[in-house]
């Protein structure tokens, strides 16, 4: 992908650049200013402001929408790290509202109820950058083609079960390796098979990596989970219900941050895994009916 060198605001350089600044960090879901403070003090590199964490959305059901602006503003006031907020898939007006509120990143998220079952938001039109979820490389590249400046795995949010995040990260990274080893004449049919823009496929063939930062999300509930995702090859992690649904959020938050920095050091990982209290209760994704699986949302 050709990176524009034009000067001004809202450029591809400043949108993807903010994600570069978040790398090696943990982005935590928070529902109150107090939780946002705890996250910042524990070393979170950003917070995701929302009304209900995914495990509660799962339990309570109903339509999950963008959060109340006053709630997002309260969190913005409480911390100086970047504040992200979620819009429904395809709901470009929720995205316009979040941009007007001055959030630093919008997550067009499958955790909320989709507003459009065919199209995602055309993200190039916004000055605020977007992060989007994916299960495989084709999905990641369609989102980047629409203007996503950061990608995350979908995983299965609100389960405390890392298995889907692992599946999605392995799928994306494995397909990148496969494309890197291809001959040029194989790239066009690959673009067709993955339903992905050709220019980004070509870029991946040349560089061996996505043109944007790639985080893991969905089901990360322990320091070991975070380090697992980092060792598999993502550049940072989102933790949703895993922190504030655990027995001791403060200690869990710090431990997950340390595990993400020192993901390759088993001695430190052993140390931070000790005495954390109970993690969030988990759900088995295999016994979950398909309509309850959030990762199926998005096209």
């Amino acid at each position: 992908m050709v990176v524009e060198t034009k000067t001004g605001t809202g450029t591809w350089g400043v949108k993807t650049g903010l994600a570069q600044m978040l790398k090696g960090g943990v982005i935590m879901d928070v529902v109150t200013p107090e939780q946002a403070k705890i996250a910042e003090d524990a070393g979170a590199c950003a917070v995701m402001a929302l009304e209900r964490v995914p495990s509660d959305i799962r339990k309570q059901g109903g339509v999950a929408r963008m959060s109340d602006p006053s709630m997002i503003e309260g969190i913005k006031k409480a911390v100086t790290i970047p504040v992200m907020a979620k819009a429904r898939i395809g709901h470009f007006v929720e995205a316009q509202i979040l941009e007007a509120l001055g959030v630093d990143y919008i997550d067009e998220s499958e955790v909320l109820t989709p507003a459009d079952e065919t199209n995602h938001v055309w993200k190039h039109d916004f000055k605020v950058p977007f992060v989007c979820g994916c299960r495989n490389l084709g999905e990641a590249l369609r989102r980047i083609g629409e203007g996503a400046a950061m990608i995350r795995t979908k995983g299965e949010a609100g389960t405390g079960n890392v298995v889907e995040a692992v599946r999605h990260a392995r799928s994306v990274l494995g397909e990148i390796k496969r494309i890197q080893g291809m001959n040029l004449e194989e790239l066009m049919s690959t673009a067709r098979d993955l339903q992905a823009p050709f220019d980004i496929i070509k870029d991946i063939h040349d560089t061996g990596k996505l043109p944007v930062v790639n985080f893991a999300a969905g089901g990360i509930a322990s320091p070991a989970d975070a380090a697992l995702m980092m060792q598999i090859g993502v550049e940072g992690v989102f933790v949703g219900s895993g922190i504030f649904k655990s027995e001791n959020p403060q200690i869990m938050a710090q431990a997950i941050v340390k595990a993400t920095t020192h993901f390759n050091d088993p001695d430190i990982l052993a140390d931070v895994s000790r005495g954390l209290g109970a993690s969030m209760p988990g759900l088995d994704v295999r016994t979950m009916p398909e309509e309850e699986q959030l990762a199926q949302r998005g096209w």
């Binding site: 060198t5 034009k6 000067t7 001004g8 605001t9 809202g10 450029t11 350089g13 400043v14 650049g17 903010l18 570069q20 600044m21 978040l22 790398k23 090696g24 960090g25 910042e40 003090d41 524990a42 070393g43 979170a44 590199c45 950003a46 911390v79 100086t80 790290i81 970047p82 941009e99 001055g102 959030v103 630093d104 990143y105 000055k127 605020v128 950058p129 710090q254 941050v257 340390k258 920095t261 020192h262 050091d265």
Partner: protein, 190 residues
Amino acid sequence: MTRIGVLALQGDFFEHIKILKNLDIDAVEIRLPSQLDSIDGLIIPGGESTTIVQLIDIYKFREKLIKTIKEGLPTWGTCAGLIVLAKKLMDHRPDPLKLMDITVQRNAFGRQVDSFESNIDITGVKGPPFNCIFIRAPIVTKVGKNTEILAKVDNNRAVAVKEKNILGTSFHPELTNDTRVHELFLEMTL
């Protein structure tokens, strides 16, 4: 061979390492304080300044960083790194290392939607203006008598400064393919 360490607690340390390697420099990630003893220069990268300072304290880097840099280790901070090195910040957090006689305003241009790119002349960097990428960037509002201002943006605000063995920039040369500011820093390590 010159060996440059990049503080790898959080942020875009890998981008600095990539540029240094392209310049045939031995570049290493610094994740523990003891690793500061074996380098000829240090880069504190871009990232979230609050997060990086928290991690400096959580991983017990503070004392060692202050001692090593005061003893003359050539050091360059980009964006969050500049904030970390400042003597004074205009808001009450985080608590910086106070190694450079400057006052810094964080998020001086506004929030992410106000982040921007601009081509700017930098003292000591030859050739055309440098493509400076400012992301939730700080500015230097006040400098001490031994601090040299190397670059300013339109309304006269300082965005690149130098003081003895320390260089600071509000922007991110590591996000470009242009190696000239890295070369400027490498000259300081000779």
